[in-house]
């Protein structure tokens, strides 16, 4: 039984909500998938520098078809470009930027986020799945601010915003803000505060679709 949302923000609008919160001059790492969309919505007049953990600061747009460089890829292994003022470096240097707290904002997807800000986004714990973690644990441990962008509910209607994550954690108490199709929610001292709701969504509607307790 799939629960279809008839109200709420589109994925593009969710990305735009995140983009609004990225300040001018920020160093930003965007996770693979929906987080990548955020770059397209940065408001005019703000300059943001993108870090991709495979070794580039100053990542530009996705490469145009026909002009891909097989040796210029992002963390998702997509062909990308570099902006003037970019720099290449090796993996140990790249993760020094991450672990050392030099990156301002990282935007990630999620399987689950808890009211404590715990994030589960690398494994569903499925014993048959091939475990793969990539840079997610380094990112949540090192980057100053972690934003999560995710559908509010799973395809089967389950809550992704939970009291306690049932999936293996990527990091404990790491998420600052959650951007869903229904709301923007801040994690403050182990409590979830609703900062903004999508048009047509009210607090009761939102709480009904959320396992964790929300605060206004």
């Amino acid at each position: 039984m799939e629960l279809k949302e008839t109200i709420g923000w589109s994925t593009g609008e969710m990305a735009q909500n995140v983009a609004k919160d990225i300040h001018d001059g920020a160093y930003v790492n965007l996770g693979i998938g929906i987080p990548e969309m955020v770059a397209g919505f940065i408001p005019e007049g703000r300059e943001v520098i993108y870090h991709t953990e495979n070794g580039l600061l100053g990542m530009g747009k996705v490469a145009e078809s026909g002009s891909e460089d097989y040796e210029l890829v992002n963390a998702g292994k997509k062909y990308v470009t570099a902006i003037p003022g970019a720099a290449y470096f090796h993996h140990a240097d790249s993760f020094s930027m991450i672990r050392g707290g030099h990156i301002d904002i990282c935007v990630l997807g999620a399987y689950q986020v808890s009211e404590e800000g715990d994030l589960a986004n690398w494994s569903t714990g499925d014993v048959d799945a091939i475990p793969a973690v990539g840079g997610a644990m380094d990112l949540v441990a090192g980057v100053k601010t972690i934003y999560v962008i995710t559908k509010h509910n799973t395809k089967s209607g389950g809550s992704k915003i939970v009291e306690k994550c049932s999936y293996p954690l990527t990091g404990k108490g790491v998420v600052s803000r959650i951007y869903t199709n229904l709301a923007i929610i801040d994690v403050v001292d182990g409590k979830l505060f609703v900062k903004e709701m999508a048009p047509g969504v009210d607090f009761g509607y939102l709480q009904e679709r959320t396992e964790a307790r929300l605060h206004q």
Partner: protein
């Protein structure tokens, strides 16, 4: 006199024995030393421990090395991709061991080996299943995990240009693990798109100083792993 240039990939990997620990550079296809890997397949060394960020794609390069049953264990951060089939199959059958390491910890453990640092503390994995059984310590109120250096007998790395001293420069994001893997292996073997005369590489721009490199093979037209995978090629060549 110093000349690290070796004539062929075959010759360069000829002394990699069964049971060796081999680091393999590349992030996905970018920087993957595919000709060196294929030479290692021809050589046939078994029971290898491979250290690499990924576990290969399609049926060429690292995936082909695994498919050829030469790898008993892989230490990596992300062994699955959309087009990886070989590793998942063997892993599910229990025919290959996996040590899963976060990408930044992997890079730093490799660098540590090259830098003579046996272990260091990192915040990554704290409070997760990947930290289970590991030593932890609190610094300034925060918990960190102790991680150990990963040393290798050999490393296989791809670079852009090299000279006979083994100085290397790389190309864009194909640099990735190359520099640290050259540092961490007793014998680092590098395939270069171009071997240039001594003095041609700007000493301010050398990324891997020659001291970290033992052998260089010129492979002037390296195969593109992405293309081979897209074309569903197999190694040994089908």
């Amino acid at each position: 006199m110093i000349n690290k240039i070796i004539k062929s990939a075959q010759e360069a990997v000829a002394d990699i024995p069964d049971g060796a620990t081999v680091m393999i550079g590349g992030f996905g296809e970018a920087g993957s030393p595919i000709e060196l890997i294929h030479a290692l397949i021809d050589k046939g060394s078994k029971n290898l421990t491979v250290v690499s960020n990924n576990a290969g794609s399609g049926n060429v390069g690292l995936a082909a090395l695994i498919e050829n049953k030469q790898v008993s264990k892989i230490i990596c951060s992300f062994p699955r991709t959309v087009i990886s089939v070989v590793f998942p199959e063997l892993y599910r059958k229990g025919e290959i061991e996996l040590e899963l390491v976060p990408q930044g910890t992997l890079a730093e453990r490799i660098r540590a080996a090259g830098a003579g640092i046996p272990a260091f503390y990192t915040p990554a994995t704290v409070n997760t299943t990947l930290a289970e059984g590991k030593e932890t310590k609190v610094f300034n109120g925060t918990t960190y995990v102790l991680e150990h250096a990963i040393q290798a007998d050999f490393s296989l790395v791809k670079c852009h240009a090299a000279d006979k001293y083994g100085n290397l420069i790389y190309n864009k994001t194909a640099r990735n693990f190359g520099p640290v893997m050259c540092m961490a292996a007793k014998t680092s073997i590098v395939q270069a798109r171009e071997v240039v005369p001594l003095g041609q590489l700007d000493p301010e721009c050398v990324v891997t100083p020659g001291i970290f490199v033992k052998r260089v093979v010129e492979i002037s037209n390296p195969a593109d792993e992405s293309v081979l995978v897209a074309e569903k090629r197999r190694y040994p060549w089908n």
